[in-house]
Symmetry: C2
């Protein structure tokens, strides 16, 4: 009876809530998504919001819940802290924080932190995705997890030796909507991963990252002087920022990288990394976070078993 | 009678209007400022707005007006076009566009353009400031004109051989107000040019510009992990972006640069350039644009004189 419900896996981010009803062998029995913002959730209460989603799916009261993401931040439900690098990613479940006072077992996964003085960094949610990606590609040494805040992670076996966050996605959205470039990039249409303007932008950003804030203005000038169109300009903006991210991550071309992504972002980054000569191993981000949540729950249960035996 | 009114000099930007009543020898007789946005001006009409400002100062109908800035753009009053680099900056007056149908002589100065295919660039308003700066420092080869869109200009004598725009000021404002960093940089207070966080940011941005979008996120992490305060974080944000601009402009330290700026921006850039070992020659931006406007008017009159003699 491997497909009987065994676990509720939740990726609870700042602006999105994703819940999967999982069997013990990792099969997805049901899925539920919503887009409540963090402030709305905080107002209604995390427990209330979670139970309302569970009730909508008629999920039994006894099933445990494992959560990753911003629900574990200081402004979230229960602060789940950070594991400091170097950190064994397979220990995130054993270090989970239990939500007390709930009717069912609920745990929240900790984030990871680089507690450096000069270049501190944090992730929350991606560590669970990373655990899934590590299980999918055990020997991987470098992972790229694109998004609002792209993460580049170095691993030695299961140990995260370091990581760096780049604000690529948020900068794209902010520059596209909130600067003079909005008159030239014209809105929110998708960027075509095969658009030559995107790929040239990637190369320019990667090879000359010091010129990025100049190249950005040059998009405006290209509109004024050469009548370049909005789709081309938006593609170049996206490419420049992604290319600058690659330069910051130090890619040289030739290395293998695990690309943990889905959908449009997966297509853009796959094309961009290939343009720079990287050998890309695609790892589906949704599958990775589900696998990470299931594995983290096992880690939590094993810890409890060890304690009971001790 | 050198202090009798001879010319009305106007710097008309996107969000600010500055008018000086000048004598023939360049003395300022009166000054007037306002902050109407371009859309408001377009609605009322440029001519109406200008005459209302002139009436407020009781300026005689016969005095000529010379204007630089966004009033000469396609969305402005009368499109004044661009001179293409290499361009002799002393010829901007002779290439001015006359506003027809006005009761008094009114001319608008053209902008400058780099009509490159791969990295086009434009300036409008700064070319007049640059003319004034060139007259102030005739042998200068490199000028930095900080602002919303910072301009770096290479000159050979009076000829602008090339220039590059960096979106530094606009990126600072947008990132400070519109990204996750707003929770860590906390508002709009001034940045102290001597703040160590500012100067360290300048060095980091200058020496490792490829890390800029990572260093930005690291400000957020430094707030979460090390409780760093808003003033320090805002100073580092400013420093990182200015330092990355220096890297893009290719400064090595040791060279002399004419810094065309005023007020808080002058203090920040002076401190930042000094931190990188540059020999800074300060040129007041307000004085430079006035001198440029007066000189441009002379250039326009000389052209007309030549035509009458021809």
């Amino acid at each position: 009876m491997s497909t009987s419900p065994a676990l509720i896996a939740v990726d609870w981010g700042t602006s999105s809530f994703r819940l999967w009803l999982m069997s013990s062998d990792g099969t997805v029995i049901a899925e539920h998504r919503s887009h409540e913002g963090m402030s709305e959730v905080a107002r209604r209460g995390f427990g209330t919001v979670l139970e309302s989603h569970l009730a909508a799916l008629s999920i039994p009261d006894s099933l445990p819940v494992v959560i990753c993401g911003m629900a574990g931040s200081r402004q979230g439900w229960v602060e789940a802290g950070y594991l400091e690098t170097p950190a064994d990613v397979t220990t995130i479940g054993a270090n989970a924080t239990v939500v007390s006072g709930a009717a069912r077992p609920i745990i929240i996964i900790p984030g990871l932190a680089v507690r450096s003085i000069s270049e501190p960094d944090v992730m929350r949610g991606e560590e669970t995705q990373l655990l899934g990606a590590h299980l999918e590609m055990p020997g991987g040494e470098l992972y790229c997890m694109p998004g609002t805040h792209s993460k580049w992670v170095r691993m030695d076996g299961a140990v995260v030796t370091g990581f760096e966050t780049f604000m690529t996605g948020e900068l794209f959205a902010t520059i596209n909507a909130g600067t003079i470039l909005k008159h030239s990039t014209g809105g929110e249409g998708p960027v075509d991963a095969q658009d030559p303007a995107f790929l040239t932008g990637v190369r320019d950003g990667w090879t000359r990252p010091e010129k990025t804030t100049h190249h950005l203005f040059s998009i405006r000038a290209g509109h004024l002087l050469h009548d370049r169109g909005a789709d081309e300009n938006r593609a170049r903006l996206s490419g420049l920022l992604i290319g600058a991210e690659f330069a910051g991550a130090g890619i040289q071309g030739g290395e293998q990288i695990g690309l943990v992504a889905s959908g449009a972002l997966q297509r853009l980054y796959h094309a961009a990394l290939s343009e720079c000569g990287v050998r890309v191993r695609d790892i589906d981000a949704d599958a990775a976070v589900r696998r990470g949540l299931v594995e983290a729950w096992q880690g939590y249960e094993n810890r409890n078993g060890d304690r009971k035996r001790a």
